[in-house]
């Protein structure tokens, strides 16, 4: 340990650290642009210049290793003056187009301008002009005039994404960020440069110009795109998801997230194909009905089959809570032993960084809960075979477009009853007799268990009919807080969807079995009491980063 002093206070720090790291570990932010904890040190922005006793010149905190007895002053006159100088230099050629810049509100340059600059400019010359709309790749747009040449994006592409296509050309204040000739910024992680960019130089082609950042609420959640479960923020305005961004979790995804996770997972939530209400088949067509009618219809239909004529498919897209309640529902209400779930593994579509071949967020959770055929029951192959042979006549499916699997699609027309939980119209709902409109990952509480056994919470960011943003403790944007009744954004469109565990609780009741769950947290509490792998956990303990549990070879079977 080295004993050092920062601004008059003494700290014991690891001597291998740099000043900026040592300060960060002790909760002191030394202002910086180019430094990033997960990237190599570039030392180019000069924002972190601090005074170090016995050093003749100011030192950059990002590249100066601490030493025993080192005395660092971040607030000395010289350090303050240097920071002000750097801010002034950075701003002279910066467009100052904050009113139309996507980054405004979450811009390091803007924030630091308030904190560390002198507040006015002495620059009266013409600014340097550079290319304004450069498509670096399919998802990232570059405005070179806004670029402060911190090189974070270049280092990310080289060091993390391993696709070294970005570089600077030209010199001095004419430096231009660009891709090497014949290349594009097109890799599975390309969009991470958008958050890394401390200014509005790199923006998302998907998100740009859609919203000021303060008009959106941001909700801590987990990406449902694969078994990694990257921690993320869901950004919502007017009850619509506008973007998803990664959230730091060193145990899972560090600062990163893949482009597919950001874009492909939220599009179905906003989709016009979303179900607006439950539906039942009348005269051959699916018709929107109320929940009471849908539940009554499902109950009466299900009652008309023998237990061994029924089969059930759980879903690795649904939460632990949903699948746990489903497990009880299948066992105690339907009484069938034919239970399984469909694996969605895309062989080869995986890498060493984040992306997993298993495209579902909760298959590990299902294994731990013991979702699978019960003794003497049929597994997925058996269920398909049974439907083909006409032995299985009714199927109950949770949130999974199983008809996307050709072998399953082929047998679905043989069924006499197909009950489906779904949030969206898809191939499977086309075959369904009763469709119970389920809320999406963005509209409910719950937990996923990732492939490493990390149990992580998702939280509702989009409100359904049953929600009130304020009363239900949603994250609130400025608009959410201050919109009046006359404002369009004060009356956003809400869909009539419910979480699967709640739908199942209602249906169990209609079939004569009482499940006493009012919240997903109550379901989780029961899981922790009955499934050994989850023992000792609680929503409070999971917090925002989740908890890793011991993965066992043998899945535990809950005692009912």
């Amino acid at each position: 340990m080295a004993r050092m002093t920062i601004d008059g206070k003494e700290y014991d720090v690891d001597p291998k650290l740099t000043i900026i790291q040592a300060a960060a570990e002790n909760g002191i932010e030394i202002p910086h642009f180019c430094w990033h904890p997960s990237l190599s040190v570039a030392g180019n922005c000069r924002m972190c210049l601090v005074e170090v006793e016995k050093m003749p010149k100011l030192a950059i905190a990002c590249a100066t290793q601490v030493a025993d007895g080192m005395i660092v002053k971040t607030e000395s006159e010289r350090a303050i003056k240097a920071r002000q100088a750097v801010m002034e230099f950075l701003l002279i050629n910066h467009p100052l187009d904050c009113p139309i810049c996507d980054e405004a509100g979450e811009c390091k340059l803007q924030d630091y301008s308030y904190k560390y600059s002198i507040g006015y400019s002495r620059f009266e010359e013409d600014k340097v002009h550079k290319p304004k709309r450069v498509e670096l790749g399919p998802h990232v747009m570059l405005d070179v005039e806004r670029c402060i040449m911190c090189s974070r994006c270049i280092r990310f592409s080289d060091e993390i994404a391993k696709q070294p296509v970005l570089t600077f050309t030209q010199r001095g204040d004419h430096v231009v960020l660009t891709t090497f000739p014949g290349t594009k910024l097109d890799n599975p992680y390309s969009m991470n440069v958008i958050e890394l960019c401390p200014v509005g130089a790199l923006t998302s082609t998907d998100f740009r110009f859609k919203s000021r950042v303060w008009e959106m609420s941001s909700t801590e959640s987990v990406c449902p795109g694969c078994a990694r479960g990257c921690n993320m923020q869901i950004w919502v305005r007017n009850n619509q998801i506008l973007r998803q961004t990664p959230r730091l979790n060193e145990e899972v995804n560090s600062y990163w997230m893949c482009d597919a996770g950001r874009l492909n997972t939220y599009k179905p939530v906003n989709s016009p194909q979303r179900l607006k209400a439950p539906m039942v088949r009348k005269d051959g067509a699916l018709v929107e009905v109320g929940w009471d009618e849908a539940i009554a219809k499902a109950a009466s239909e299900l009652k008309s089959f023998k237990k061994n004529e029924l089969a059930a498919l759980a879903s690795a897209y649904a939460t632990n809570e949903d699948n746990y309640v489903f497990l009880r529902f299948v066992r105690e209400v339907l009484g069938t032993k034919n239970l399984d779930f469909v694996r969605h593994v895309v062989e080869g579509d995986e890498d060493e960084l984040l992306i997993r071949a298993d495209k579902t967020p909760n298959s590990t959770g299902l294994k731990l809960l013991g979702v699978g055929p019960m003794e003497g029951g049929r597994d997925l192959t058996g269920i398909i075979q049974g439907i083909k042979e006409g032995v299985i006549r009714a199927l109950y499916i949770l949130e999974d477009d199983v008809a996307s699997v050709p072998e399953i699609a082929a047998v679905l027309p043989n069924l006499q009853l197909l009950v489906v939980h779904s949030s969206i119209q898809n191939k499977t709902t086309e075959y369904a007799d009763v469709v119970l409109s389920a809320s999406t990952y963005a509209e409910r509480h719950g937990t996923f268990t990732n492939f490493l056994g990390r149990v992580q919470r998702i939280r509702p960011a989009v409100a359904t009919l049953e929600h009130d943003r304020a009363l239900d403790g949603f994250a609130m944007s400025r608009w959410d807080k201050f919109a009046s009744h006359n404002d369009r954004w004060g009356r956003p469109m809400k869909r009539d969807a419910r979480p699967t565990w709640r739908i199942l609780t209602a249906l169990a009741g209609a079939l004569g079995t009482k499940f006493r769950y009012n919240t997903s947290e109550e379901v989780f509490k029961e899981i922790t009491e009955r499934v050994p792998a989850f023992k000792g956990l609680s929503y409070a303990k999971l917090g925002s980063g989740g908890v890793t549990i011991q993965l066992r070879e043998q899945a535990a079977v809950p005692a009912s």
Binding site: R46, T167, D173
Partner: protein, 423 residues
Amino acid sequence: MERLILPDIKDLHKLDVYEAHGGYSALRKALGMKPEEVTDEVKKSNLRGRGGACFPTGLKWTFMPKQTNKPKYLCVNGDESEPGTFKDRQIFEFNPHLLIEGTIIACYAMGITTAYLYIRGEYGKWIRMMQKAVDDAYAKGYIGKNILGTEFSTELVIHKGAGAYICGEESALMNSIEGERGYPRVKPPFPAQYGLWGCPTTINNVETISNVPIIINRGWEWYSKIGAPKHPGPILVGVSGHVNKPGVYEMPTGVPLLEIIYKYAGGVPGNKAIKAVIPGGSSTPILRGDQLEGVCMDADSMKAAGSAVGTAGLIVMDEDTDLIQVIARISKFYHHESCGQCTPCREGTGWLHKILDRFVAGEGTKEDIDLLMEIANNIEGNTICALGDAAAWPVQSMIRRFRDEFERRVARRTAPVVEAVSA
């Protein structure tokens, strides 16, 4: 004084002529010594770098790790891009084998098996001349495997620069050799620990290395008595600007500037007064013509006068010189050559240049003078490499020593034009 680096011998650039005048005898002598003894000799000679910083060469060599499993490298810096500097070119043209001999001796002293000679790309002719000399030296066994029949082997590769001033900065030079963008590196780590390809590296200027065979041949004691005691040896001074005989002159260190101008360079055309002198290449602080008395071309004297030896590129400006144009042009150079990596230099050099261009156009204001000074102060010392300082010093010194020139420019614009009105 006897000319040691550029002796007056016809066709000395040819290997046989060089050999006939004792060439490569220093190499032979050095190979008979222990490597540490060679380093020691250079250390005791008090040779200081001729690339601008005047750092003790022998001391620099001792920074190289003795025990390492990595290859070690020598980079000989012939990027020579500082305005007013054209001395290394003379060595390439007139005494290339002295440079080669010095390079091989330096390699031997530091246990280096590959040396790079980095020459600025604009020196096409001199690169070809140098390559010819290197090829000849290879053919004669002065470079390559088992030099002069000893166990020692080393390679010498000429690397051509691509036209960026910044590549003369030692760490940018290494990046350039590696094929990377010419960006200076953040130090530490220093080149002796982590240099070219991440291996221990020493970077020496062409003229510095050319002094090495002389030291080995004549001994440190003899050498250290040449010129200024704390900064001894012969030095190539490039004189340009308003002198009758511009050119490169070899002389001992410590010669008074006035002697250089009037004796070596033949004085100022038309016997005009000297308004100002830039003593060591465009980055060194400018000196007033009336403060030159007693100022000599060595590190201590120059420091005392408020400037630096730099690359000993002396630019003389007579009384009719428009110093505002001079400083605007110098600032344009540093604006153009700033690599753009770190903020103060990237943004500040352009700002200085733009303001100074306004002064040239007669549109500067009194406040601009102080602003120029503050911008320069904000660049100085806050950058990754010394280019920021190099851009700041001329501006600072120009304002400090010639503020009246700036003020006159301001006055020219603001003085009301009064015409006589007849009653």
